[in-house]
């Protein structure tokens, strides 16, 4: 059976990179970048995810079929989020009647 034994150095390197990015994302969070904070945080999380998937989860050396399934999972997640947000963010929200809540919600003032 063809087992791909990844060199120890690669695992330790990925591990150190993951720790570095954890420190980086925590550090950046304390700097006010406006809307970019969210973008940077999610970009770093995505890089960390790719490191884990490619190296720890061996997708780098896995079969084409497995890769398609992995990609499909995330493609469906993208559909879920994109279609949900395309509705929520473009809808003209009606004001919430004051009798529904404490009367000071965000939506009411819009």
């Amino acid at each position: 059976m063809s087992s791909h034994v990844v060199p120890l150095k690669v695992y330790v390197g990925v591990f150190l990179a993951l720790l570095f990015f954890t420190g980086l994302t925590t550090w950046v969070a304390f700097i006010d970048l406006g809307p970019l904070n969210t973008v940077v945080a999610l970009a770093i999380a995505t890089v960390k995810m790719l490191l884990v998937i490619l190296f720890f989860m061996h997708v780098r050396s896995s079969s084409g079929l497995t890769r398609v399934v992995v990609a499909a999972g995330f493609f469906w997640l993208a559909l879920l989020i994109a279609f949900t947000l395309s509705d929520e963010l473009t809808r003209q929200w009606s004001p919430i009647p004051s009798s529904w809540g404490p009367g000071t919600s965000q939506s009411q003032t819009q």
């Binding site: 087992s3 695992y11 720890f56 989860m57 992995v70 999972g73 995330f74 469906w76 997640l77 965000q106």
Partner: protein
Amino acid sequence: MADLVAHGSGHDAAHDPAATHSHSPDLKHQFDNMTQQFEAGNLGMWVFLATEVLFFGGLFASYTVYRSLYLPGFEIGSHLLDVRFGATNTAVLICSSLTMALAIRAAQTGQRKAQVILLVLTMLLGAAFLGIKFTFEWRNDYLEHLVPGVDFLYRPEWGGNGPHVQLFFIFYFIMTSIHALHMIIGIGLLSVLTWMAARGRFSPDYYTPLEVSGLYWHFVDIVWIFLFPLLYLIGGRYGIGGGH
């Protein structure tokens, strides 16, 4: 991979009694060879993980929607979490992913003792994560009256954002508790694997249970990699005075 597709294309090796003698005792009869068996198990786990991606994805999508609707409340909520616990737990999980990957490597290189040690370490790191979460974080949240449905008090400085801060904490507790449940299931899986590894059940030829459980463990790590910035970091660390 080729073996998986080429199945049924008229090869007789698998059905030839003479050929089966060279087969590993771990080869189940429905597979042609160890590679095909490994691929099939791996693929099945990834299909399951794709359903898990969407399971957590529903939570992430609704979190995104409500965060965009009630940003001030969510930022106050995020600021109330202790980033030190979140960052420490991220590091703990990354360490556990390394030990998990190394445990599989130990199986690939046929080191039985190393497998057991690394699996036990992985479980201990998983338990450390849960310990930090339950006994420090959630306890502090409870003492600060931040547990919706149990004891949640609106603070005057939140103004009208009170219900939205509470909504943030509902997301926080549901997401972290479902993640914690996955960790507990993972530790359960690893305890069985440790027992199997100690009995010498895995070899460089056959370590599929280790590999697929590793996939699950790393997946749970990835969920946390996203929960950490979404809950603890974005927007909550500056601008609003006081806190941690």
